[in-house]
């Protein structure tokens, strides 16, 4: 269980890192390494060069503005989870992060790294897709911003080019009238989820005007389903969700059990998101009245 040999670079500036990536098509970026190092140790990956970005300045920032929450490429899950700005501006990010692996892994793993690792069984790719966020990437040719809906090409495959490094991710802020929910079922706390579901529900008074759910571990890529038209009908919502998903058998669960979890968690998470929207709307009214 030792990695194959690789050349190692630890650039002190972004430009140097980008030039190193451009120079070697077999190079990979090393950030937190919590997914990459096991892949190397099991020899499922053998890049010719690792470009370690941990010494790059300024990439560990987490900040909020009118666009939402921004997370730099070296911000560890633990730092994003601890950020009051993130919890206030987009609480779904905090809710989902608390379910990412164990605390020890969150201390080293990065949120942006998890997003571009593109594991459909991971929480953050689903969350950024559900929220309609984006990832800003840099190369020697300049920067570009990839919308989350264009980020995932297949299992463990993002649309970043080999010479690009993700520099930050953006999660849009929770809009007025919106509420969020998140739940997952795993064999043991901290393990990969058998199924995970996130939801964003928007209300106007007592009416639900939008209900969307995102799914992890039940398809090859993070999948978002619009469930607005099925609001109030659990069977119809589950049917619509499952028609967009592809639950599979593995050693942890059967496809039928995963489908069952989709039904249960969809109802549970939509209800939680609706309650959250009501609570926030009511708190907002109290504030306006006060």
């Amino acid at each position: 269980m030792k990695p194959a040999p690789f050349a190692y670079l630890r650039p002190q500036g972004l430009q140097h890192a980008l030039e190193a990536l451009a120079a070697d098509p077999g190079a990979k970026v090393l950030a937190g390494g919590q997914s990459l190092v096991p892949l190397l140790s099991m020899r499922l990956a053998a890049p010719s060069t690792l470009v370690d970005i941990n010494a790059l300045p300024g990439l560990d920032r987490v900040w909020a503005d009118d666009d939402g929450v921004h997370v730099g490429a070296l911000a560890r899950h633990a730092d994003v989870l601890a950020s009051p700005d993130v919890r206030r501006v987009q609480p779904l990010v905090s809710q989902a992060l608390s379910q990412v692996a164990h605390a020890t892994i969150r201390n080293r793993g990065t949120t942006v790294g998890s997003i571009v690792h593109a594991d459909a069984a991971a929480e953050m790719p689903m969350v950024i897709t559900l929220l309609g966020g984006s990832v800003t990437v840099a190369s020697t040719a300049g920067e570009r911003t990839i919308p989350a809906e264009e980020l995932y090409a297949g299992p463990l495959e993002s649309t970043l080019r080999h010479d690009e490094v993700a520099v930050h991710a953006t999660f849009p802020a929770l809009a007025p009238g919106e509420g969020v929910g998140f739940a997952e079922v795993a064999r043991r706390h901290g393990d990969y989820a058998l199924v995970g579901v996130g939801a964003v529900v928007r209300i106007d008074g007592d009416d639900v005007v939008s209900a969307r759910a995102g799914y992890l571990s039940v398809s090859d890529v993070p999948t978002v389903v619009d469930l607005t038209e099925t609001w109030g009908d659990h069977d119809a919502a589950a049917h619509r969700a499952l028609s967009a998903l592809d639950p599979a058998d593995d050693i942890h669960a059967t496809a039928a059990y995963r489908a069952h979890l989709v039904r249960v968690l969809t109802a549970r998470v939509l209800a939680a998101a609706y309650d959250d929207a009501r609570t926030r709307a009511s708190a907002g009214r109290d504030r306006d009245d006060g």
Binding site: K2, F6, G33, Q34, S41, A101, R108
Partner: protein
């Protein structure tokens, strides 16, 4: 041509140590093989079991999921660095170590270094955990002997000992 070697400095338990390692040397192996600090144990070697957990800048991190060359700017604490100074050459057991001894928090001892480092940081962040919080604190570490009952007791006892000593 041989594999390229890197001359690096690692700050471990308050001492700066110089080692020459290939880039692929895991931090866990650098600690054990290059520095002789065999208190850090290697179990699964892919981040699941928690036996190799060390403190990196005070936070628990899997040393099998870091390369030594990537740890150059960090301050590392291994289980060997947990004892507290009391004037004697070897120091005294830390509150967490004392609690494991009192509560029979270990049997074979293989997983223990990872638990001790994890709980040391956990109690610093939350000095008086509930039993549920104690369980959550150790959720990322596997033990195949104890069934965890005495480890949870040890967390709670360590909290008391730290309080008594302060």
């Amino acid at each position: 041509m041989g594999e390229e070697l890197h001359d690096i400095r690692l700050s471990v338990n308050g001492l700066v140590r110089e080692v020459r390692v290939p880039a692929r040397r895991l931090l866990s192996d650098a600690l054990r093989h290059d520095l002789g600090l065999t208190g850090t144990h290697v179990g699964c070697e892919h981040g699941v079991c928690g036996a190799c957990t060390v403190l990196v800048d005070g936070r628990p991190v899997r040393s099998c999921l870091m390369f030594a060359v990537s740890a150059v700017d960090c301050s590392i604490t291994t289980v060997e660095g947990l004892t507290e100074p009391d004037g004697s050459p070897e120091g005294r057991l830390s509150a967490v170590q004392q609690a494991f001894a009192e509560c029979h928090g270990l049997q074979c001892g293989f997983c223990t270094p990872g638990f001790l480092t994890t709980i040391t940081a956990g109690l610093r962040d939350n000095p008086a955990p509930t039993e549920d919080e104690a369980r959550e604190m150790i959720a990322g570490n596997l033990c195949r002997c104890t069934g965890y009952v005495n480890i949870v007791k040890s967390v709670l006892r360590a909290s008391q000992i730290a309080e008594e000593r302060s």
